[in-house]
Symmetry: D2
Subunit: 416 residues, 4 copies
């Protein structure tokens, strides 16, 4: 464990350190050199809690509407040690924005450009790269053709190219087939391509194993492969290990990434946390502690994963914990560690002696934190109707779900 304090780097936000080397090392240069790349955390969940994103549609109009909030979150992740600023462009196509009840007068292009500018502005405050991303499409779930789906990805790329992001991520895919299509499109840009599925050890929604998924992605041209979202850190690391085994067995080479949830999900089925009854507004008891994150970072590192970040539920202090665990390997502590004694060392100054007695690694490493909810269970039974791509239950409509349609759903779902 990284108990011995290192000097925190001097990146400290807007007042200082804005002068960076004009030519940063690219993501592949770093990974090829064996460096750790610390990712950031998910923006939609964090900004929903802060009041700038609506759960359900999850659209990113805040990039244009409330840039100070988005900039602040980027900056917090940077200070926590992130080497990557992902543009906040999730679901920012015009149809989606309209579709999802977005009433403000920003076009998709305006939002996407604003998001790229914010990511770049903050990346320039430290040693971070800008990554643009594409995700799974409703078109695929509705069984559109490969050509149509690929066209959707191409359209999203325009702004990333115009704004010259440093690399591209195809992330949050439940079906490897669609992810392969995305990688094929992203490869055409000449930028480095990472590909990240939202799957667990059982594989993709059609039962393709993690190892086989990874092989297909590498063959399609992805230089970095891994998983993000849907499962907790330990499950994600386990899944990426299976990917690595598959790739190595096939005689191929790749770098590996994991960007898991910050929620414990021992009770998930193959579709992940979305099927848990607590999704998305009752997940609080599942939030990982910073000490859970230390374990995640170590486990991921030991598994050979070098791009280590987070997704939904990650707050800046979670990324800071990853950075602190890996401080010796990276050679520095993140800026925000100025405000954090490793393994609770700041408690040495607490007024109560029995709280000072918690200022040590052994204490926090072994703590089994109580839920404070004695009338709640520790695991749930996932919802989900056992259907995926192509099933009638999943066909999408342009109009909002009507009250009548909802009524039927309420009756069909198990009550709580």
């Amino acid at each position: 464990m990284s108990l011995q304090p290192l000097k925190a780097c001097t990146v400290r936000g807007p007042q200082s350190c804005r002068i960076m080397a004009p030519t940063k090392k690219g993501v592949l240069e770093r990974l090829d050199a064996g460096e750790i790349v610390v990712g950031d955390g998910g923006f939609v969940f964090a900004l929903e809690k802060r009041g700038y994103v609506k759960a359900g549609p999850w659209t990113p109009e805040a990039a244009a509407e409330h840039p100070e909030a988005v900039r602040q979150l980027h900056r917090e992740f940077l200070r926590a040690g992130s080497n990557v600023m992902q543009t906040f462009t999730f679901y920012a196509s015009d149809d989606k924005l309209e579709n999802r009840g977005n009433k403000v007068t920003f076009t998709g292009a305006q939002i996407n450009e604003a998001a790229c500018d914010l990511a770049r502005e903050v990346a320039n405050e430290g040693d971070a790269l800008v990554a643009g991303g594409v995700s799974q499409t409703p078109s695929y779930l509705s069984c559109k053709s490969e050509k149509e789906v690929k066209a959707t990805f191409k359209k999203q790329l325009d702004v990333f190219i115009k704004k010259n992001v440093d690399f591209l991520i195809a992330e949050y895919f439940e079906h490897v087939e669609e992810a392969v299509w995305a990688v094929e499109v992203l490869k055409e840009t000449g930028k480095p391509v990472a590909a990240s599925l939202c799957i667990g050890p059982e594989g993709d929604m059609h039962g393709v194993s993690p190892g086989e998924c990874a092989v297909r992605l590498v063959k399609a041209g992805a230089q970095i492969v891994g998983v993000n979202c849907h499962f907790d850190p330990m499950t994600c690391v386990k899944t990426v290990k299976m990917m690595k085994e598959g790739v190595e067995k096939a005689g191929l080479k790749a770098h590996y990434m994991s960007q898991p949830l910050a929620y414990h999900t021992p009770d998930c089925n193959c579709q992940g946390f979305i099927d848990l009854p607590e999704f998305p507004f009752g997940l609080e008891p599942r939030i990982l502690t910073r000490w859970d994150m230390h374990k995640y970072a170590r486990e991921a590192y030991n598994a050979g994963i070098r791009y280590i970040g987070g997704c939904c539920g990650f707050e800046p202090y979670h990324i800071r914990a990853v950075s602190e665990e890996l401080a010796h390997e990276r050679g520095f502590l993140p800026a925000a560690s100025e405000k954090h004694g490793s393994w609770g060392a700041g408690l040495e100054m607490h007024t109560k002696p029995w709280v000072r007695a918690r200022a040590r690694c052994e204490y926090w490493e072994n703590l089994k934190p109580a839920s404070g909810r004695p009338q709640c269970p520790s695991m749930s039974v996932p919802d989900g109707w056992g259907v995926t791509k192509g099933h009638n239950d999943l066909l999408q409509q342009k109009e909002a779900t009507s009250q009548d349609q909802l009524k039927k759903l309420f009756d069909r779902s198990k009550s709580h």
Copy 2:
């Protein structure tokens, strides 16, 4: 329940609504008129997670060092419906700052003034008042005289008077005697005074009952009395109810406030969450959901409490939930509700039908969220050595705790 949507108010951050009536109603005017005053959440815990406050010393140098981060948090609470911006001046005396290892070159005065300016700047963006606060002192615990303790409070008041805060709060007192002294000092300013103890139903650390505590505070001149921190919302409401009964039995009058933790604490003893083994870095499983906050807001309102806010653990979405629950009583939804469908209504637009089936009050109201931690308990046994003011174990020293002293504490404490 406040199911029928109201129009969200037009306060939307920096771009708009900056022009407010020059003469806002004061806190007592509002309470006398029967209005609800929604408080804000605690800053030290929220900013610790964001990377700007160090747990242990908990000092507020960020007001001067990283004003953009403090401003952003104020703004998020404002958008969530807060009517009060408490200045981020907790523990900002020169000795404390030095004492606590604060290496940056800001004086206490600089920090306090910066904090007042930030609170006023954001208060002016909406219908909020600025409150300055004082808290319990190490001097009292170390058995200094009434005169010495009162001198400490007086010193802290200077900046609040200079910056003309709208009212004053004496908060986070474990001993009613010290709180009475604080109220007596604050009263001399002529500003409205609120007094808030960090006690539960068992009363203060010397066993003075909540009812008796409240009577003493009202007699000392506090116009608003209540509790903050240390216990979960339902425990705090229960305690304030006992205060109200005491005040009414004594033939006195007051307004009532509660600013609880956002952590479930069914297992606390009289000293509150500080004695829980999870304090302060393993509290995640105890975090309240937004639906827990709905219940809190309703319960507080029904108990006759009209100043309803939060303390450690509260994030902006928790205050938003309080505001949404009380939207009908207040006549409006907070600005941030633009980004939140009441009771999960935003899920109507989710792609999976079984998630759409969660878009209703009954679902969330009855959910018993799982912890996802099957190897953890649901309740803890509090630490604590059963001592309080004047005991040798609690005497404070200027120097940092030495490794030798720590070693003794580690051995003495129960292992985990």
Copy 3:
């Protein structure tokens, strides 16, 4: 802890040891001499599981109908170290037997006499006394007069006198008033009288404190006072401690007894486990381990309680654990300890070495046993409509509850 093995006494069931000293020491002689009297466990719950008692009516016709089953259970408690065989005569009045759907052709007198004979037969196999008992009456709950209620008790005494039991117990009373009446009746027999309420620290159903209850019982003539049933061991010990304090404060003298449940009940309200949703057919997860019983026995002993037994949920091995914990104080191990290595010592002979590693006190003393039920809570919310003696909801009728009446109850109760 009683780690050093003592020689097990030679009482070994029917084949041996039948010749006992013709004049055993009485219960008061033993207690006056400072000896521990180990009670037995509850019969209705144990025999319900074995198939001889019907839950609901809980009548004891098995004494006449299946004597071999009742005799066997007595014998198991004797072998486990019990010094008292309570006659299995709970609810054995003619009206009750008829009332409760008892179709077999035994009169109350037949059952009661059979029960006394069985208790005496087994008591003679070892160093045990026979106790006859009376319990609270439907008459009292239905507001009958003191005279009527006392007449009920008198009638029950006839068989105990005829069969010459060694002492009498008035047990399982929720209202101290009725218990006092019972004691007054029992005292007239000249036999030693024990009085045991089924209350917790909050006192009887009319809010009379445990201390005050105990004082009234002692003044009425009870030589032994305490509690039984309704709460878990630690709660019962706490309650008896309050009784002892009350009696001592009043300048009186008494012996103390506790016969708690073998179920953990941290979530009970004042009416005890009957109001728990799990009563009576879902209590399994709450069953105490033998190690919990060691703690109970030690705690009871340390509190000055010398009559230490059990009630519903106790199986013979629970009483054996009490006897083993107190083996040094009593000077012997019970007969059944021949079949039990103290603190798991028998595991020394297990084939798997990691199971052999459990053959020690520290292991079992510190084990926090898992429920194996991750979808269940750890605590329940008690049922109960907040009513007691005299309330319409509790009036009793001779006829069985009709389907119509049940339907109304089902609707009124919270669903599960």
Copy 4:
């Protein structure tokens, strides 16, 4: 669900019904005719709690030493609906008895004969068959030859043949290889042979899948195959389903049996409950309710299992619940149901109306019973050193484990 009451059969213990048809149907006749055969529960755990078996050595000297206790337990299972009385002869070889510290002067032959007589005596009181059983041997684990292992089984058979049991069970085998050897020996007697492994869905200790295990057993001559012990009912049913699929895929035919634990074991690894930290003295919180048993019986029946019984942890009321769930399929309720209203119907007569409201199937079927242990987890991490047959850690010695050897084990094992 079997809500409609059936007439309980008239078997009621020793006083009645002793005259049975001289020629009962054999076990295969019953199963071939599609009848359900209800097994009994495990004797060692039940008699350990009653004080007649020592945990660790688990030897059955009680059959000779305390026949009344063994007879009583047989009778309770018979009254609960069991069609099989398994002789209480577990581990009754001379070497084992001596080895295990058995100081009483009974030979293995005496014990085995007494056990057969007791089983037959009670079987004759109702419609039950007598089954003799053999289990896995220390010889196999210590890598003795097939010949030596088979000789052990042969020796055990002598008494079963002499006493003319109705059929034979090879049960509690962790390695299918040894079970096949046992079946081959048992087959030579000409009696019907059942074979039951103590494995879960992961298969035997060498990783042979349940389906493959079953095929081997059927090919070796077993007419009934299944699992017993080590896992909870639902896990056992799942495993037997895999066996059935394997047998059917191989074009073979068999009958199926399951005799699971009465403990919830969601957290077991492949070695089952023995590796749980709670084994064997802290399993109480895991005990199944009678309603869990209803689900088990239905699930087993639906899976095509027709020999449905239990193992460790089963008490008579658990078997009664199995019999009640299957009452319609069998055409009768067991004798003990006279003392049990189906689905809690006996509560109709309870004095408290909110308890009467529990007298219905829906209530108990949906109850999630609380553990009453808020400081305990819901799942454990299994112990176990990942070794099996042939490993040095598992070599057996004649002498008792010495204190020195134990000390090493204590240090090696994780502390609690």
